[in-house]
Symmetry: C2
Subunit: 198 residues, 2 copies
């Protein structure tokens, strides 16, 4: 398999943490990319119409985009349990994943606001709206720490979202007032899959 990747993409990290947890990382050849919301990457576009990372090219040549789809594909390929079977555990893991992914989407929108347009075109109200979404999700994660499962696609997504905030939004100080979440990430970050993708 081949994966269009970017070293700082949090969604690529989700895929690679998943691959490491499943013992599949060595089977994935990483291809460089220069994806961007305004200036697209023609090589990635030739493989998949969304021209985004992560995009996985299967051994048969089909391309699939979107970290959720790729992670579930890898889990099935490895016969893994990162996606629980249908039932309460699955909906909890998928809801955690979608909430963590939404934090990343909001964080990326703020980052694009600051880097992909002229200063005069920035909207503080827009960035504040995205920031409010991040804050309420973080507050909710703090209440959920005791109920989190072990390693599944939800907790992987959560760890990658928090790791991205540390990478790009260190000034946010998300740990303040959220000691349980901070301790949870410190523990989860010790995993070999997280260390290999830091």
């Amino acid at each position: 398999m081949k994966l269009f990747h970017s070293p700082t993409s949090p969604f690529v990290r989700k895929v690679m943490v998943t691959a490491h947890e499943l013992g599949l990382a060595e089977r994935i050849e990483r291809l460089p990319s220069a994806v961007h919301p305004v200036t697209r990457d023609g090589q990635v576009l030739a493989a998949h119409p969304l021209a985004q990372v992560p995009t996985l090219i299967l051994d048969g040549g089909e391309a699939i985009a979107d970290s959720r789809v790729i992670c579930e594909y890898l889990d099935a390929l490895a016969g893994g349990q990162l996606f629980p079977a249908p039932g309460a555990a699955r909906w909890a893991a998928l809801n955690l994943q979608s909430t963590a992914d939404a934090v990343l989407d909001a964080a990326l929108l703020i980052r694009y606001e600051l880097t992909a347009r002229a200063e005069s075109e920035r909207s503080q109200a827009w960035m504040d709206g995205q920031g409010a979404k991040i804050a309420s999700a973080l507050d909710w994660f703090e209440t959920q720490v005791g109920a989190l499962g072990g390693v599944d696609v939800g907790t992987i997504a959560l760890a990658c979202a928090l790791g991205y905030l540390d990478l790009r939004f260190a000034d946010l100080g998300w740990r303040e007032g959220r000691p349980n979440l901070a301790a949870w990430l410190a523990d989860f970050s010790e995993r070999a899959s997280m260390r290999a993708t830091a």
Copy 2:
């Protein structure tokens, strides 16, 4: 079950088309909302930290957000087949869904650019980048029409994405040069689930 909805949200429509296909629509009580990326809706926020639609409140009180998670939950609840079992059909359906959802995300970003910020804060380059993503996805859909399955979460997502372009971006004229996709949507739109949610 209760669903925070908005009558023009394409992701809500995805959920409701799914519910109609599964015979579950009558079991879903719809709750009004006023979600917005800048001014949030406190009632939806009290149920789920993302404060977005669709958000489904299960009979046990748990809330799940994100149309992908909600659609899969409903499919499992009804013992449906809208999410094929793991295998090539599933990855094709999920990849189609993620591509159609990405068209909606791009279309919504253009719409927010035009409605949720001052005219001086708009970026034509940003909107052009989103528009290019929509165009390449539409071109790819046109090539895939012959390979599409019947009714699954992928084709439902595709129909809702195209329906939203008709609602908000009629000037785009997406049917031009894409006769197969246009004919496919005309046929799919005859379904009772699509008519009930138009």
